[in-house]
Symmetry: C3
Subunit: 158 residues, 3 copies
C-alpha cells in the first residue's frame, strides 16, 4: 500500500507501546511508510540501558533519570500494573501464546525501516543525552514532526 | 457526509468509551461510516456478562477473567474513579441531565450499523473466547485494522 | 502549509495539555489551521479561576466543581504526579531550560488564532457554565466537532 502512518508515542506504557509497535511492524509488512515520534514519557522506551549516565546532569535530572524506566522491558502497564504483578501476569500469558515481547517488536521495527524521531524539547527538559538513547533515534523539533504527520494518511496519539 | 471514521478502542475506561460511542452514534447520524477496533483493555467493553466462562482457560486466564470488568457498565473511570465513588457521582450527574448510559450508546451504535472489530492477538493473549463477547464482534488481525484505518478520513486512538 | 489539524482534548493532564498546546502553537507558526475541541476532563484546562462559582449548581455539581482542577496550572501529571511532587519536579526542570509553562502556551494559542471548541454535553453534565470558562471558548455539539475533524488533515485524541 502506498500509504504513510505517523504515531506520536507519548505515554511510555508497556501495553500501549506493544500495541503501537505491533501496528508499526504490520504496516511495514504491508509496505506502508511508518514514522514514530517519541516525546515525554514515550522516550523511556528508547533509552539504552547500557549507556545510562548521571554525568553532567542537574540534581533534578539525576533523580528523574534514576526514578524512571530504563528501556523497553522496564516500562509499566497503563492499567492493572499492581507494582509489576499485573505486568508479570500479562508477560506469562504472552509467553503461553508464544507472543514476542516488546523488545522483540522494537528490534523488528528498527530492522523493517520504521523511522524513529525523538522530541528535542522533551530530551532537553528531561536531561537525556543523545548517547543515552538507541543510536537509530533522530532528534527533531515539533515542526518537523508536524510536517511528517500532516503528510501521513493516519496519525495516532498513543 | 461521504466520509469514514475509524476508532481504535484501547483503554477500557468508562468515560473514554462513552466519548467514543457518542462520536460513533453522531457520525452514523451524519451518514459517516464508522469502524471501531477493540484491542487490549478495550475488549472489556464488549464482554457479554451472561456468557462469562472459566472453562478451558489457563490459571492466569482464569484470574484475569475474574479480575477484569465484565461488560460496559462495569468499566472504571480513567480519572477520579475513587473505588467507584467518582464513577457513581458521574452517573448521578448524567441521570440529572437525562443523558443515556454507556450500554445505551453501545446498543445505539450496534443498531446504527457501526462495524465492530476485535483484535485477534489480544483475544488470544487474554484467553477470551468468541462466545464470551457480544455476537456482533468480528475478530480480525492488525493488518485488517490497518487496511480499514488507512482508508478512513479520520482515526483516533482512544 | 495549507493544512488543518484537529485535536480532541479529553484528558485534562498537565503534560498531555502541554504537548497538545506546543503542537497547536507550532502548527499556527506554519500557517496550519488548528481546532481544539475540549470534552470531559479536558475542559478543566479552560476554567477561568476568577469566575469560579457554586451558584445554581446541584449538590453533585458543587462537589465536582470543588474537587477538580480550576485552570491550566492546576492540572496534574498523567504519570508520576506523586501528589504534586513529580509535577513540581517537572516544572523546575522546565524552568532550568527556560521552557514556558502551560498557561503561556495557552495564551500563545489564543493569540495565534487557534479555534477553541467546548463540548456541550460535557458542560451540561459537569454543570459548568459558559461564564466560568475562558471567553474565547465556543460551545458546540459532537456533530459540529465531527464536521470540523473530518475535514482536517490530521486528528488526535489527547
Amino acid at each position: 500500500m502506498n500509504k504513510k502512518m505517523n504515531l506520536l508515542m507519548f505515554s511510555g506504557d508497556y501495553d500501549k507501546a506493544l500495541a503501537a509497535l505491533i501496528l508499526a511492524n504490520s504496516a511495514r509488512e504491508m509496505d506502508v511508510e511508518v514514522t514514530m515520534f517519541f516525546s515525554f514519557w514515550g522516550l523511556f522506551l528508547l533509552r539504552n540501558p547500557e549507556t545510562f549516565t548521571l554525568e553532567e546532569k542537574s540534581v533534578y535530572e539525576k533523580m528523574f533519570s534514576m526514578m524512571t524506566p530504563k528501556g523497553p522491558e522496564d516500562l509499566p502497564l497503563s492499567k492493572m500494573n499492581m507494582s509489576g504483578i499485573g505486568k508479570q501476569m500479562l508477560l506469562e500469558m504472552m509467553d503461553d501464546n508464544e507472543a514476542p515481547h516488546l523488545s522483540d517488536f522494537l528490534k523488528g521495527a528498527l530492522k523493517k525501516g520504521v523511522k524513529f524521531y525523538g522530541c528535542k524539547l522533551s530530551m532537553e527538559i528531561m536531561g537525556f543525552k543523545q548517547e543515552e538513547m538507541i543510536p537509530e533515534l533522530e532528534i527533531v523539533d515539533a515542526k518537523e514532526y508536524l510536517k511528517d504527520a500532516l503528510e501521513a494518511d493516519m496519525q495516532l496519539f498513543i
